[in-house]
Symmetry: C2
Subunit: 324 residues, 2 copies
């Protein structure tokens, strides 16, 4: 088997130089690097330390797939996941699927071929590609049979939002959210909790759904126009994310200054604070930390609970108009 | 040298099973996997395909270090970088330094030992650790001698902000931003552009600096209180980031309802839109794309410009109070 010395002789440099190239240390010209790598291939040299990492059972790489990195909920979650990885001695390979199933599938393959020890996925796909991947995995805000999942208590969140609007005296509340494409998205439960609480109180509730994948509410002005035509009597809105709530508040100021109804968001991310919007707060940091902990437990071959549901809390601000 | 067959015999399974373990395919028990990996280590087996990737000159991994992932500017930038990496066939290893030099240094070492092909760094350190790292690198919003950098035209941004406040009739504008710790942070130029433009117009300008690392303005209420005591005549504010501007707007509503002065932010991230704040927009997506392109050029051994400065634009919204 070839040694460092064989390589050095072949290239005509010192063993130290070859070692430096392999370890990426010191200043070596590209020409020399190329020659060293060519010799390594020709002589079929297997550097020991590198080879050792190959058969290492744990690469200490964790893959995370989120739909969008620049959406406030997912950027907060990604920050929490990265921090938890760092504290546990893991590195984070980050992928954004853009909510596209094909891309998600491709990214799972790429992550596996990069030898990740496990993956965390926030999938919005009807049929989650994650299901078919045979490696340690944890799902966030998505239920997949046989895959441990972490989510917040969405149902209770919907209940809290409804209770706040009802306590504010709303007689015609409106649920405005992204169309739920899959019953396996726990966010479905926040709709249910809201609708059932209104129903129990004998209050008829409007429902308006925007494009399932338009998480940023890019076409919201048109949607608001239509929602208002359909539910002109609306006197309170539950927007199913803070981003949507912020957009509704901003668009309403220009388009419908008369529509200054109580407004409640969901997520509890910074933007709700900046915009002074009441919201149902998910424990996003805890969710990210727990997801990483569960994944590392799985990587270490331990059993973990199939479903972890963390509590939500209500943050009252200026937008909900309810005075105690 | 050991072969697949040797391993299979040692463990007492088929060659196919060993191959599946190595390639991570099929459903193999953890017990068998463990045995196969033990045999691999004992027999000092070097799987060819894996070994080949070792001497591969390009891992197609790019490291990105940002101070905070959940800060709107950096999450928008990270999203753009991830997308550009994906389109170029690269994977992104993401690190958040929390603005701490030690952590940044450690992360650079980790990234190198994970064989990244190159790194992108948004450093806020006085003495940037990046300087000492010998691998392809590009700096974003930070000037380091000998390292290609990408930034926006910060000086012109400061000029635009000043011009807007002056055109709104401000006689006592206030610059409110994070204390600049290093002249190598191009953001310094946005302060300069603002102050010099006010000076040229013969308008005296207040300056209030908050903690250099408090990019989220966590203690802003106290800072605002002090700024108001020091500059009571303030009739217009240039906040040097959208996050700060949003926090100022939100805090002012509660604390100083009488302080409804024109307000201008910087960055052009979503939050400025939600909060209806006029802002100097950085071309964040283009900056991320360009940084990835330059880094890949460097990885391929090509020359790239030392400094790339992209144009800014002004977005007028309700907060600047200027009517044409």
């Amino acid at each position: 088997m070839a040694t460092l010395k064989d390589i050095a002789q072949r290239v005509g440099v010192s063993v130290t130089t070859v070692s430096r190239v392999l370890n990426g240390k010191g200043s070596i010209s590209w020409e020399t690097k190329d020659k060293v790598f060519e010799a390594i291939e020709e002589l079929d040299y297997h550097p020991n330390e590198m080879a050792r990492s190959l058969v290492n059972r744990n690469s200490h790489l964790i893959g995370l797939i989120v739909p969008y990195i620049d959406h406030a909920f997912f950027s907060t979650l990604t920050a929490a996941v990265e921090d938890a990885c760092y504290n546990a001695g893991y590195k984070l390979l980050l992928c954004a699927s853009g909510g596209q199933g094909d891309r998600e599938r491709e990214q799972l393959t790429t992550l596996r071929s990069n030898n990740v020890a496990g993956v965390l996925v926030c999938s919005r796909q009807e049929s989650a590609p994650l299901e078919t991947v045979d490696m340690p995995k944890v799902s966030i805000e998505r239920t997949i049979e046989g895959v441990p999942s972490v989510s917040c208590d969405n149902y209770q969140g919907g209940v809290l939002a409804a209770q706040e609007l009802l306590a504010s005296g709303c007689k015609a509340p409106l649920l405005l959210g992204n169309r739920i494409i899959s019953m396996y998205l726990p966010a479905y439960l926040r709709y249910q909790g809201f609708l059932e609480t209104c129903q129990k109180a004998g209050v008829a509730c409007g429902e308006y759904y925007i494009d399932a994948e338009d998480l940023f509410g890019k076409d919201l002005e048109n949607d608001l126009q239509r929602a208002k035509e359909r539910f002109p009597e609306t006197d309170g809105i539950f927007a199913t994310s803070d981003i949507l709530a912020a957009r509704i508040q901003s668009a309403s100021q220009d388009l419908f200054p008369e529509w200054g109804v109580p407004l409640i968001g969901f997520d509890g991310v910074d933007v709700s604070e900046y915009c002074n919007i009441s919201t149902v707060a998910q424990p996003v940091c805890e969710m990210g930390q727990l997801a990483v902990k569960l994944l590392i437990d799985r990587i270490n071959g331990e059993e973990v609970p199939e479903s972890s549901i963390l509590p939500v809390s209500f943050i009252r601000r200026g937008s909900s108009g309810y005075m105690e």
